[in-house]
Structure formats: structure tokens, C-alpha cells
């Protein structure tokens, strides 16, 4: 089932909830290899986004909502993840264009544009121990699921699974970008906070898509 603005709004609300729920964990991860504010930063950012959701027009497109998320995160996060995720949502919004519904192809295009946005902004490569290491496997898995004929919900579930595995895979690595790169070998054994939060956000995308699909099937 192609996903509309209702899903984007649900996804954003679910992202805000999951970030709040995992705030302490994200702070702890960032305290270990950064400056300890990642949970606060994203909680501040997504709370600001949620506060703006009520103001969106009834006929807003998915792309318009993604753009609102982008500009709000950019203005409110206050750390590296603000410009990075903000650019991701902005480029995702560009890929969504004026479409009112996103099918599997469109979702892959949005995720790909989002990942490209993170890379454009932060210039990290795979293996640098950043959020890119959640996004790139997610994009690859989403494309594979789409190629295999998966539904929108299945494409997003594949992305979420891959992002989760990608975040976990950062643990044994040394960081080459961001604050954790100051730590050298001491970053080993710690999961990258940005990769972890990105995997939470992508899981929220999959969960809300599954819920919408289930509701549509029942209804």
C-alpha cells in the first residue's frame, strides 16, 4: 500500500516518541565517545517538529511534511546531527517531490536521497563510524526489497533491519569523522550514537507503515 501524508506524520510522531524514550541511552552513547548531548539534541529537535505538526495544511504532501521536519531539525538540534539529519530530510523531501503518495520506488528514492544528503553534508564514508553506517545499509536493503517485489512496509522493514545491524556493526570501529574521531582507539567497543538514533528513526518508519497497512487491510 502506497503511503501518504498520514503515514509521514505518524512516522514523525513515532520518531519523536522513540527518541524521547531512548534519550538517556543516546546521551550515554554520546558521553562515551562524544560530548553527551545527542539524546537531548534529537529530543529537542523532534519535540519542536511535533509542536509544528498541528499547523500543517490539510492537503500537505509527504514532501512538504519532510521539508518541515528538515528545517525544524536544522533550527533546533544544536549539534552535528541537526545539519546532517536536516539535510537528509530536505533531500528526501526533494525526492518525494509533489507526490501525494509514496510507493516502494518512491520510498527507495527518498531514503537514497536522504542518505546522499548526509554524505553531502558530512563527507563521511562507510566505515567512518557515523550515522552513514546505518543509512547506507538501510538504503541498500530497501532497494533489494523493492527489487524483490516487496511492499512499502516490507521495504521499510528491510531498511530498519539493516540500519539496526549497521549501527551495531559500528561498535568495534575507530571513528574517522565527528567528535569520536578525537578518541582514536578509545572509540572501539562503543556504538556510534548517530547510527543508533538513525536506526531508531528508520524502525519507526517501518512500524508506522506496518500499522497503516494492517489498519487498511482490516478496514
Amino acid at each position: 500500500m502506497a503511503l501518504g501524508t498520514g503515514w509521514v506524520v505518524d512516522w514523525v510522531r513515532a520518531s519523536a516518541e522513540v527518541v524521547k524514550e531512548h534519550r538517556t541511552e543516546l546521551v550515554r552513547l554520546d558521553r562515551e565517545i562524544g560530548d553527551g548531548d545527542h539524546g537531548e539534541n534529537l529530543d529537542r529537535g523532534f519535540s519542536a517538529v511535533v509542536a509544528k505538526l498541528d499547523g500543517i495544511e490539510a492537503d500537505a504532501t509527504p514532501g512538504a511534511v519532510l521539508k518541515l521536519v528538515a528545517t525544524t531539525l536544522i533550527s533546533t538540534v544544536g549539534g552535528a546531527s541537526g545539519p546532517l539529519l536536516g539535510t537528509a530530510y530536505l533531500k528526501g523531501a526533494g525526492a518525494a517531490g509533489a507526490a501525494t503518495e509514496l510507493d516502494a520506488d518512491a520510498l527507495v528514492a527518498v531514503l537514497t536521497a536522504a542518505r546522499d544528503g548526509v554524505v553531502l553534508r558530512g563527507k563521511a564514508e562507510s566505515g567512518d563510524k557515523t550515522m552513514v553506517d546505518a543509512w547506507t545499509p538501510a538504503v541498500d536493503a530497501a532497494a533489494a526489497a523493492r527489487d524483490a517485489g516487496g511492499s512499502e512496509a516490507e521495504v521499510l522493514a528491510a531498511a530498519a533491519d539493516a540500519a539496526e545491524a549497521g549501527a551495531a556493526a559500528t561498535e568495534p570501529w575507530v571513528a574517522r569523522k565527528g567528535r569520536a574521531s578525537y578518541l582514536g582507539e578509545r572509540a572501539i567497543g562503543h556504538r556510534d550514537p548517530g547510527a543508533q538514533s538513525s536506526s531508531l528513526i528508520l524502525r519507526a518508519a517501518a512500524d508506522t507503515a506496518a500499522a497503516q497497512t494492517a489498519a487498511a487491510t482490516e478496514g
Binding site: I74, G78, P83, G86, G178
Partner: protein, 128 residues
Amino acid sequence: MAVGIVFVSHSPKIAEGLVDLASQMASSARLIAAGGTDEGGIGTSFDTVSSAIERADSGDGVVVLCDLGSAILTAETALDFLDDELKERVRIADAPLVEGGVAAAVAAEGGAELADVLAAAESARGSA
């Protein structure tokens, strides 16, 4: 008219202190502090940085100096949202904040143009 300078720091105190320091050697230069989050905490603010760039520009362009990587990300994002006409004359220096900032301020005070203010910042190592 002259090139303006913006100091982007995670710390409001660092950005303000640098305006104090650089002003001593470049009292008429347009030096704008853009430090801290919107709440005045440690971090950077897109809005603070964007408006600092706008205020720093008098038509001759702006050189932006940053402390850490995430300050650069904020500054680059601010650039993306500027009017094309202004954006064209803003440069983010690959230079140490304090040392490059003082050198850039002195160059701007002397009437150097954008490329030369940028070069002054980027060649500064600050042990003169």
C-alpha cells in the same frame, strides 16, 4: 565597506571573547560573534549563524571561522539557505578559530578583499 567576519563557536564566551581580542587590533572591522545554542548553551545555532552572516555582510562578503566540525556543518547549512547573491560572497575558512580569526580581522580592517581575508585566515598559525 569591508569584508565582515563571523566567529562560530560552540561556546558563546569564546565567540564573544574573540570579538574582544580581534577588535583590539581591528577596531573598525565588522566582527560578529555567533556562539552557543539558542538557549545560550554549548552548541551551535543555525539561526544565530545565519543572522550573523547577514549582519556581517556589507556587500563585500563574509569570512566565517568555526571551532569544531559540527560548527562547520552548521555554517555550511546556513550557507545553503542564504540568498544566492549573498551566498556567493561568503567563505568558510579552513583555519584555526582564534589565530585565523585575528589574522582575518586585521586583513579586513586593512581593506583587503574577500579572497585575501580568507587567505590571511588560512595561513595563520598564530605564533607571531
